[in-house]
């Protein structure tokens, strides 16, 4: 049993240490470590990713929790998830201390003046990608249609967009109401 915890710890520590960019960037390395230690089967891993996407929280964190729980129970989940986050703590705390104290240095300022719009562009691209995948017809809920975009999803997305932009509606409320609306409109 101790070996199982040790493997979970070292495996997920490695995943946390060697993947930059979070989320989906972590999945290939996760798959390798899972295959090496035989934590879960390949088919189970696909199901786990689907659940990790659907449930609240960061995808990589959810996947680590799930794999840890399947392998060694509650303690396994805690060990895997902690190990995943530990490299971040060790690296970021000193780095962000440096950044906080030198933020006003002109060269560092110039660098971040260039980085900020680049991040804005990345977020715009991510918004487009999320829109493309999430507004499609869900094959589990409705028959294939000639029109690839599900107009019910599109209307929900548009109403939420306007509610947040114009009325400053709390995102949490928007999510909860949309879950209820989804229950009704996707039921037909």
């Amino acid at each position: 049993m101790f070996m199982a915890f040790l493997q979970l710890f070292s495996g997920f520590f490695k995943i946390g240490l060697f993947t930059v960019g979070g989320g989906y960037a972590m999945l290939p390395l996760m798959q390798q470590e899972i295959a090496r230690y035989g934590w879960v089967s390949a088919a189970e891993f696909v199901d786990i990713i689907a659940i990790a996407e659907m449930t609240p929280g960061a995808i990589a964190v959810n996947t680590a929790t799930f794999v840890g729980f399947r392998t060694a129970g509650i303690l396994g989940a805690i060990v895997a998830t902690t190990a995943l986050a530990l490299p971040s703590l060790l690296i970021i705390v000193p780095l962000s201390n440096f950044w906080e104290t030198h933020q006003e240095h002109p060269v560092l300022k110039a660098i971040f003046n260039g980085i900020r719009p680049a991040v804005a562009g990345l977020i715009g691209a991510a918004a487009m990608y999320i829109g493309q995948t999430a507004l499609q017809y869900d094959p589990l809920l409705s028959q294939k249609d000639a029109f690839p975009i599900d107009f019910r999803s599109l209307i929900i997305a548009a109403v939420v967009f306007l509610a947040v932009r114009k009325r400053n509606v709390d995102p949490i409320k928007a999510i909860l109401v949309s879950a209820l609306v989804g229950l009704i409109v996707f039921g037909f």
Binding site: N62, L89, V160, G182
Partner: protein, 191 residues
């Protein structure tokens, strides 16, 4: 001076609760977490501002680890030192631990419920609207001059239509910022 307007301390409990809330209500991870992070740390808590959050995201994305966890560590460290960083990270992770362990115990029955699928279709659609609103808000906050606009368009095109990695794009932005700085400095000297 701008620094002084931001709140510089927070109790560990406040940090934990704020990040727990973010972890509990973000679906989809990664960029889908941004709208909630912004609502909580900018609007509700005033721990950072619309402009600085982009620098924090850049930092969080350029180092190893999960982006949301990295963001929680940066702000936790600012407000409560190493202890604050640990507590903020624990807060954003805890909902996953609780929710996933519950689901893992009832795996099959949950996955086969049509009601769950319907509710999640609604949630996924809402996330599209939320992320789009965040993208607009971020664009308005960061695109202040012509060079920023050009950098943002280039980053968007590279990220949306090519396989160039996000880190390479961030590094490119850093180089462009340096270039603009030195060109600007030269111009000022010549004047």
């Amino acid at each position: 001076m701008r620094q002084n307007q931001k709140q510089r301390t927070a109790s560990l409990r406040e940090l934990f609760v704020a990040w727990f809330k973010i972890g509990l209500f973000t679906f989809g991870g990664g960029y889908a977490m941004l709208p909630l992070i912004e609502r909580e740390v900018i609007d509700n808590k005033g721990w950072t501002d619309k402009e600085e959050i982009l620098s924090i995201y850049a930092l969080a994305q350029s180092v190893p680890g999960v982006i949301a966890v990295n963001t929680s560590i940066i702000l936790g460290n600012r407000l409560g030192g190493v202890k604050g960083a640990v507590v903020a990270a624990a807060g954003v992770i805890s909902p996953s631990l609780i929710v996933i362990m519950t689901i893992a115990s009832f795996f099959d029955s949950i996955m086969n419920s049509v009601y769950v699928l319907q509710a999640f279709s609604g949630i996924r659609s809402a996330v599209v609207g939320l992320v789009a609103a965040a993208a607009v808000r971020i664009a308005l906050a960061s695109l202040k001059d012509k060079s920023a606009f050009v950098i943002a368009i280039a980053a968007f095109v590279l990220s949306a239509f090519t396989d160039v990695h996000a880190i390479a794009i961030i590094l490119g932005g850093a180089l462009a910022g340096l270039l603009a700085y030195y060109l600007g400095a030269k111009r000022r000297v010549e004047d």
